[in-house]
Structure formats: C-alpha cells, structure tokens
C-alpha cells in the first residue's frame, strides 16, 4: 500500500502556503497534479492543453491562496478552479461538456442484451447459458497487477468524455457523490447513471482481459 500520501490538515496546509513554504507547495503539487491532469483531459482536446489548464490553475492558486476563505476544502477549491479553467479552454476549442441532461447513448442497458435469455424464453431476463459472469481472480503478482491497471487506464482513456470525467473524479480521485455533483453541476441521479455506465464498461474490459489470461495463469502451474 505504498503511496498513501498523507497531507497535513487544511488549516496547516493553507497557512504554510501563505507563508511561502516551498516544500508544502511541492507536496500538494505532487499529490494532486496527476488527477488534475486526467480531469482536465475531459474538457479539452489535447494533453498539452490539459497540462496548460493545470499550470494555469496552480498559478491562480498561488495568486489566490491569500483570499481562500476555507468554505470548502482546499482540494475542492483547487479542483473547482481547474474545472472552470479547463471548461473555458474547452469552449474555445469548441469542446464543451454540458452535464445538465443525459445524451441518448448514455441511457439504456449497460450489459449486452445477448447475454440474457430473450423475452418469451423460460427464465427470460436471466443469464443465458454460458453467459453468466464467473468469479475473478485478479492476480496478486506485482507485474500482472500492473498489467490489470494498464487495461483500466486504457479503458478510461477510451471512454466518452462525460463518463471519463465522472469516473475519474469518483473512482480515481476518490471524490464523494456530493462533491462531484457540485463540481460538475449535475444531479445525483444523472451522476449515478454516468458512473454506472463507466464502471460497467471497465468491468467488461477487465472481464475480457482476465478470461484471455486465465489459461496463461493456468499454464504457470496454478494448483
């Protein structure tokens, strides 16, 4: 469980940043820039543009930290600046992601209908023969776990932008539902629809990957 980067509590962080403590600034920069970059990617078209949005955000934080009122957590405040900065860039690049309502392709079943028994059949709506999910064994081996994470990273990159945004905030950055709703100005129900669809797509990718490697694992003498 390496990488549990414990930051000091907000009050301490903010005071040290105001005092110009470079070590503290480096600490938050390291802790948050990565997930900020991923989040920014949801609103702009290129990685370069996302990186600029992150940089602009940090510059705004440096200039604005003395005015930070502590009405939200420091991290939420920083991320909100990022969302606004990235959105403004996205608008210029005509790539806006309005969250007010769901797109048609974001609704409907998240599991392929062919995996269930068809209407009219006995046990309609239940898993079809041979289609039911089988228990997984995510490898504990360090290298193989790295491969599994690679599969998920790629799958996230391939997600439609709005799904990517929500799952990045919720499951990668670890935000709660309320925070995400307020950052993205989205209703709790719609947020759950997007999150569920994103998770279902990732689960499917993992399922494909793990069923493909099973016999390899077997060949390595799993008793």
């Amino acid at each position: 469980m390496a990488g549990a980067r414990e930051l000091p509590p907000d009050q301490v962080l903010v005071q040290r940043l105001r005092d110009g403590d470079e070590e503290t600034f480096a600490l938050v920069l390291n802790a948050w820039s990565g997930s900020m970059l991923r989040l920014a990617m949801s609103f702009v078209s290129t990685k370069a543009s996302a990186e600029e949005a992150v940089q602009d955000t940090w510059l705004a934080v440096i200039r604005g930290i003395s005015d930070f009122e502590g009405r939200s957590t420091l991290k939420t405040w920083v991320y909100r600046i990022l969302v606004n900065t990235a959105k403004a860039r996205g608008t210029k690049e005509s790539r806006t992601v309005p969250f007010a309502s769901l797109l048609p392709e974001e609704e409907g079943p998240t599991v392929d209908a062919s995996r269930f028994r068809a209407p009219g059949e006995e046990y309609a709506g239940h898993w079809a023969v041979g289609q039911e999910p089988r228990p997984w064994h995510i490898p504990e081996d360090h290298v193989l776990r790295g491969e599994v994470r690679e599969v998920i990273t790629e799958a996230i990159d391939e997600l439609p932008p709005r799904l990517r945004t929500v799952i990045t905030l919720r499951d990668v950055a670890g935000y709660g539902s309320e925070e995400v709703c307020s950052l993205l100005e989205i209703s709790p129900g719609n947020q759950r629809v997007l999150l569920h669809r994103a998770r279902a797509l990732l689960r499917r990718k993992l399922e494909e990957y793990l069923s493909g490697t099973h016999h390899v694992a077997g060949g390595r003498g799993r008793a």
């Binding site: 440096i62 239940h126 998920i152 998770r199």
Partner: protein, 75 residues
C-alpha cells in the same frame, strides 16, 4: 428480480441509493444467482482496481516552472 435488472442497479445499491423495496429484492436475488453474485463482486473489484491507478503527471518542466512561480510570487 431478473438478472438484466440486477446489473443495472449495482451502482445505486453500492451508493445506498436504492429505495427500500428495490434494495430488499436486490439482496434477495443474490443467494439465488451465482452469476449476479459474481457480477457484483466484479464491480467491486473493478472499483477497487480503478482506485489503485497512479494518475499521469505533469511534465518535470511544468513542475519546475510552477515551483519557480511559487517562489517568485512570495517575494
């Protein structure tokens, strides 16, 4: 509850957002269906693995520029 309904309710279940009656039917379905039990477990594993991702990072140059900007602003 049918399996094709079950799979659509997993996130709502995990968030504690299901209405009481739906939650009861969701839970009652589990011991009856190993496929859905696996599906729920796989969802949990997917979420846990996603939480292990180390996000991309900004370039060392960008990082250095920001550290310099922080130092200069304080002067």
């Amino acid at each position: 509850m049918n399996c094709d309904d079950f799979v659509e309710l997993v996130t709502e279940f995990l968030e504690g957002a299901l209405p009481e009656e739906d939650e009861r039917r969701f839970i009652e379905h589990l011991p009856e269906c190993s496929g859905c039990e696996s599906y729920l477990d796989q969802f949990r594993q997917t979420i846990a693995t996603t939480g292990e991702l180390t996000p991309d990072d900004i370039s060392p140059e960008a990082r250095q520029q920001l550290l310099t900007a922080f130092r200069d602003w304080q002067r």
